[in-house]
């Protein structure tokens, strides 16, 4: 059954990708990209990667699509006729694709339990991590503990993204006269959003702290919390959102999250272990792992929330500016 669903979803994905190639209406392209993201997240669920699906749905279909829409609002909806020749790109793509197909021929068969991937390194994560780290969610164990350095890098990547966006766009405080932004005429939307937003923030907190036991964690929680505020800003307008959390504050928050993460590493060095060695954080190694993971997940959550919201602010304030002019 899983294989059948997989096949149907893959077919839908292939059709969507093909359609995107030929569409000239960029709004439709972005909508289909949102669908593409949704579909690939479904495939991830189907292939047992629930944490990944969580992230892909909230990031790919949520944040990326919203950012693309805001960009389109400023750059226009129509793709003009290209003067480039299509022969060379097609040739490059065919060669690359042929190389990949050639590479697949010696691949281990799909889903076979004897594949090298399942024989080396991973068995320890599956068998030992519940004992060594003490969490039922192996993905969180590997993410936060075994490969905690990667995750620190990931947090820094997000942080560098906000540095880039802020240096390019900046967030300008909007003036009094354009307070009338937002979807003023949609009264039902106002009411419903105000009901939903607290629930979403509650859900984000649940995802943040339940990530050790089920799908979720700092990254997903940060994105969902940011999504709640983005909804608020979309419906009520940026100035009102600025009044709740200002862009300058978010900038500090983003930095603070990275520092919180890194400080766990420094503290473990001070305690005599290696960088990010959570075993040293408490007398009992398992408890130490717990403390370490909770703190670093919090750091990730804070940074991701602040960065995603600040990026949206930067795009949004640009859009409002170009709209006024």
């Amino acid at each position: 059954m899983a294989e059948f669903i997989d096949l149907v979803l893959l077919a839908m994905l292939a059709l969507t990708a093909l359609r995107i190639i030929f569409l000239k209406d960029l709004f439709a392209v972005v909508m289909l990209f949102g669908i593409y993201s949704f579909l690939s997240a479904l495939i991830f669920v189907n292939l047992d990667a629930v944490d990944v699906a969580f992230t892909e749905a909230s990031v790919g279909a949520g944040i990326s699509t919203v950012l693309m829409l805001v960009t389109l609002a400023m750059t226009g909806r129509k793709e003009k006729q290209s003067t480039h020749s299509t022969i060379l790109p097609l040739f490059v793509v065919l060669v690359t694709g042929a190389a990949l197909i050639y590479g697949t021929l010696d691949m281990p068969p799909f889903g076979h339990p004897d594949n090298p991937v399942h024989q080396h390194v991973a068995p320890r994560y599956i068998e030992e991590s519940p004992k060594e780290v003490g969490l039922p969610n192996m993905v969180t164990s590997v993410l936060a503990s075994y490969r905690g350095f990667d995750t620190l890098g990931e947090t820094v990547v997000v942080f560098s993204a906000v540095i880039g966006v802020l240096s390019l766009l900046g967030v300008r405080r909007t003036k009094k006269k354009d307070l009338e932004s937002g979807l003023e005429t949609h009264k039902v939307l106002h009411v419903v959003s105000k009901i939903i937003i607290p629930l979403v923030i509650l859900f984000a907190l649940y995802v943040q702290f339940h990530g050790d036991f089920g799908p979720g964690g700092g990254f997903q929680a940060g994105v969902i919390a940011a999504a709640a505020f983005i909804l608020y800003a979309l419906v009520l307008g940026l100035p009102k959102a600025f009044a709740v959390v200002g862009p300058k504050f978010l900038q500090w928050m983003a930095a603070a999250g990275v520092l919180l993460y890194a400080s766990v590493g420094l503290y473990s060095m001070y305690k005599g272990g290696n960088f990010l060695d959570y075993n040293t954080l408490a007398a009992d190694p398992i408890a130490g792992q717990h403390y370490g993971i909770i703190i670093i997940e919090l750091g990730v959550g804070i940074t991701v929330f602040a960065v995603m919201l600040n990026i949206f602010y930067a795009f949004g304030s640009q859009a409002e500016r170009s709209n006024i002019q």
Binding site: V121, R124, N274
Partner: protein, 511 residues
């Protein structure tokens, strides 16, 4: 305590310093702080190099998890040597950038600039030190994102399109590396480079591994701007702020060359890459074309930054040529050239940035008569230019010398001759600029302008690099010792791994 964590510090230090530099906010504060952090990283990497030279290899398990399960940081002579160059250049450029940036970047973005610089440094150090193939990708992206930001900070609008093109190419390159690493992982089940090396040999002829090798090579080639994939580099270097160009030209591509060396010599093994796949000939051909095509392009440009950017692509050709000779001397020539070229290009771009600071243009016409107005800057430019050409007593001579020696060792007269002919082009493009600076008069229209020597804050780092150029041209003991042990180390590990493979196979057969 520091001794124990020496391996991790060059990454962690700039990584933690970056958010603090953002919080500091004020331009001067974050400048001082960033310089301090970078300087400390330089000191640590100096110690790291001496430790690596005496101990051979230093391994550090992040999080206390043993290598194939956790992420390993692994330092040997090769990466400690490149790391030393990267941190040194970063510190010097930061000192230099305080004045340079004031002219070229909006005041509101100054602390963002220093933050991005630190992030870029952290990314580059991470790429160099990590011993884990996926961790390398993460740090590659940190440094790339910071680089796109840095390039787009200039005030000229063309920096935006340059940065965008760089972003698209760079992301394609990174995704190719991701595909390649995925294919390797699929076949071996591991991401640790040493572990990969041991396990890849068991699958030597596998099509999946070969495809993975091809994708990693193409991806890294984009990042290091190997000839047909170099199109992003000239615009990016031309339109970025001068301090950024000085930093990137002397570090980013070098680090990518190191990644290529690491993958070829440690992960895949020489026999696999050069004998089975025949990559040696391809790399050599591309390198030779790069040297000639891009040296020629450099001679016909009118923007001096573009001239130097094309020259960089050509110089990368020399590095690839060295490693494609597959000998200890050839690899050593590559390593020396990575180091020396960082010194030369750093000094040259700093000098050009100084000219932009005073004159406001880097067109070759703007250099007319500057020999008198800015004597120290132009003297620095001249010496570094001579080093690019490869005049004796400069660092450039040393790297070319070893390259030619390596070619002659194998009786490869053609390559040796090509290297020497390539240098002739360098005489032309450096000569054009020097001619304008020393033998042309400052045009009447500009004589009223107050063009004078730049501040010592910009001159000192520039001259430190120039003196280093001369020093390493005269006293070659440090560079050759480090490069030689790096290159021998790489060949040694390669041999050990290949022997291991033979033993491992026989064990498998017997069991």
């Amino acid at each position: 305590m520091l001794e124990q964590h020496l391996t991790a510090l060059p990454i962690i230090l700039p990584l933690i310093a970056a958010p603090i530099a953002l919080i500091l906010g004020r331009s001067v504060l974050s400048w001082g702080f960033a310089t301090l952090a970078s300087g400390l990283a330089f000191l640590f990497s100096w110690q790291l190099l001496s430790a690596a030279l005496s101990e051979g290899v230093i391994s550090y398990a992040v999080g206390g998890w043993a290598p194939p399960w956790g992420i390993e940081l692994r330092v040997d002579a090769a990466n400690a040597f490149v790391l030393l160059a990267v941190t040194a250049i970063s510190t010097l450029v930061l000192v230099y950038s305080k004045d340079s940036i004031e002219k070229e970047v909006k005041a509101a973005n100054h602390s963002l600039f220093y933050t991005a610089h630190l992030l870029c440094l952290a990314g580059l150090s991470g790429i160099l030190i990590t011993g884990d193939a996926f961790n390398l990708f993460v740090f590659l992206e940190i440094s790339s994102l910071a680089t796109y930001t840095l390039v787009s900070l200039a005030s000229d609008r063309r920096c935006l399109t340059a940065a965008f093109r760089y972003l698209v190419m760079g992301t394609i390159g990174a995704t190719f590396i991701l595909i390649g690493v995925g294919l390797l992982y699929m076949k071996t089940g591991t991401l640790n480079m040493m572990d990969l090396a041991v396990r890849i040999d068991a699958y030597d002829s596998s099509r999946t591994i070969n495809t993975g090798l091809a994708f990693i090579m193409v991806g890294v080639s984009i990042k290091l701007a190997l000839f047909p994939l170099h199109m992003w580099l000239p615009p990016a270097y031309t339109h970025a702020p001068s301090a950024v160009t000085a930093f990137l030209a002397s570090t980013a591509t070098k680090v990518a060359v190191y990644v290529m060396i690491r993958f070829i010599f440690t992960v895949f093994g020489i026999d696999h890459v050069f004998v089975d796949m025949g990559m040696g000939l391809i790399l050599m051909a591309l390198a030779v074309v790069a040297i000639f095509k891009c040296s020629y392009m450099a001679t016909v440009q009118s923007n001096v930054k573009t001239v130097l950017a094309y020259s960089s692509v050509a110089q990368i050709g020399y590095m690839i040529l060295g490693l494609s000779l597959v000998s200890v001397t050839g690899l050593m020539a590559s390593m020396i050239h990575i180091f020396n070229h960082a010194l030369m290009k750093g000094a040259l771009f700093m000098a050009v940035g100084a000219v932009f600071y005073r004159v406001g243009s880097v067109d070759i016409k703007a250099f007319a008569g500057l020999g008198r107005k800015m004597p120290l800057t132009m003297a620095a430019f001249t010496i570094a230019g001579l080093s690019i050409i490869g005049v004796p007593l400069t660092a450039g001579f040393v790297s070319k010398w070893y390259l030619v020696t390596a070619a002659l060792e194998q009786g490869n007269w053609t390559v040796a001759a090509l290297v020497l002919i390539g240098s002739l082009f360098a005489i032309v493009y450096i000569g054009r600029i020097l001619e304008a600076a020393y033998f042309q008069k400052l045009p009447e229209s500009r004589s009223s302008e107050n063009i004078k020597e730049i501040s010592w804050l910009m001159l000192v780092p520039m001259w430190v690099l120039v003196i280093a150029n001369i020093y390493f041209g005269v006293d070659t003991s440090l560079t050759t010792e480090a490069a030689n042990s790096a290159s021998e180390w790489l060949f040694q590990t390669n041999n050990i791994l290949e022997n291991n493979m033979v033993e491992g196979n026989s064990q498998e057969v017997s069991s």
